[in-house]
Point group: C2
Chain length 283, copies 2
Amino acid sequence: MTGSKEQVYAPGHHPSQTKHHEWRTAENSAAHLIPHLQRLGRERPHLRVLDVGAGSGTITASLAKYLPPDGTILGTDISDDILARAREHAAAQGPDVARRVAFQRASVYELPFPDGAFDVVHAHQVLCHLASPADAVREMARVCAPGGVVALREADLRMWCAWPALDGLERFQRLMADVLVANGGQAEGGRRLLSWVLEAGAERGDVEVGFGTWCYSAPEDRRAWGGSMINRLRTGQMRDKGIELGIVTEEGIEEMIKAWEEWIGADDATLGIVNGEVIWKKK
Amino acid sequence: MTGSKEQVYAPGHHPSQTKHHEWRTAENSAAHLIPHLQRLGRERPHLRVLDVGAGSGTITASLAKYLPPDGTILGTDISDDILARAREHAAAQGPDVARRVAFQRASVYELPFPDGAFDVVHAHQVLCHLASPADAVREMARVCAPGGVVALREADLRMWCAWPALDGLERFQRLMADVLVANGGQAEGGRRLLSWVLEAGAERGDVEVGFGTWCYSAPEDRRAWGGSMINRLRTGQMRDKGIELGIVTEEGIEEMIKAWEEWIGADDATLGIVNGEVIWKKK
């Protein structure tokens, strides 16, 4: 084990951070889990799902659609504020979703549940913020019942596939990765996910590995994603931390904002972001 | 237009090159096209599909399964030798595939077919070998009928997401991209695919863009992929060209082979390769 196990969500929950998060759904961010939810749901009518680090809960509420009629999903997070937002979002999805979804404050390092309390334990973009990701996976596996699955997905921040080639975008990508690492997180989570799962005690034969992507290219996606990145540069924790660490200047940030504006305006613009995906079938 | 339009397949068809190619199927390499094939097949019982640069034809034969009963698929390539292999492969898939599949020699720059001769025109890892990819797309679009689709998929060779972090693998990746460019090809095809399609005359609103991945991590996939890369280093065109250009030495190649052997043996190894995917719906 390396680093601290104190759990802090360094990026914070400023609107500049949460806006993109709320674009996330089961379909665009947890597609690798859906067939397993459906398979287990047929076998286990009271399927119990835990969504660790649920944040504003859009994936949590969206996963609820794939549960059997008596299935339930519990989202956890370390922030009461973001959980209030998650409860509001779930309620707004209508009674069929709302009755199956609940939220509770908890740290991923010490989940307040007995061994095997859930059939599915899911986390999305959580381990990349932790100093000890393998410890978190071990704790998630502890609360996963035999025959169930632990499902993980983490971005690989060194893997942005962007066009047009703009210096400002490349510098932005490095800034984001460097700030994540300075905050005690992991910039290469996508490719390292399997290594953490094995370190947490999985046998290789029980783990399915893949990569999934996010793609931003259509005009409305460019405006939403690029706009969210510009907001982070103007007001987010990344800006403050980058300046504090001396790895970016106010001028450098202005250049990155200009690059994002150019990218948003380019009809041939694409951006692919690579995420590692793992399904650990618990014995 | 830049560069020569003489069409040469620089990597050649040595077994070190074709072995991996024959692992490719519709499911792992043309998943973005399958729903469009099925949709168009319901509307057009005599669906006509053209697979440009079909090589050893494993994707061609595999796509045949998704055609309507009276649908046909024609694969083209510039090499008679590889087409002989493709015919053999298609025949081995049984009569239901064999009767729908044919192959013909043709250059992507001058397809010997009238305008609108096909409902679906597909190319996989073809444009990255060309000096004038937008010209090839324009020619593919010419032979695509109104209401049909042009479907493209190209790897982005700068985007390999590999673990463990091994210097030899990083140098291998750069060698592969540099040799491709030295041969007149395109190393960043994945991210540039949309720009070529727009240059070929598409309107942005008619084009769907995404990214798909290949993942090598399970022991058998590591042996197959890593072994194929080692073969290329020992006997392939990449080795000869790299040495001829002075961008790699015999010693450097031995270090890359050692890195691949280490990667094949590592239980926590993963490798994600990113491919750009485009569907152009022809008006």
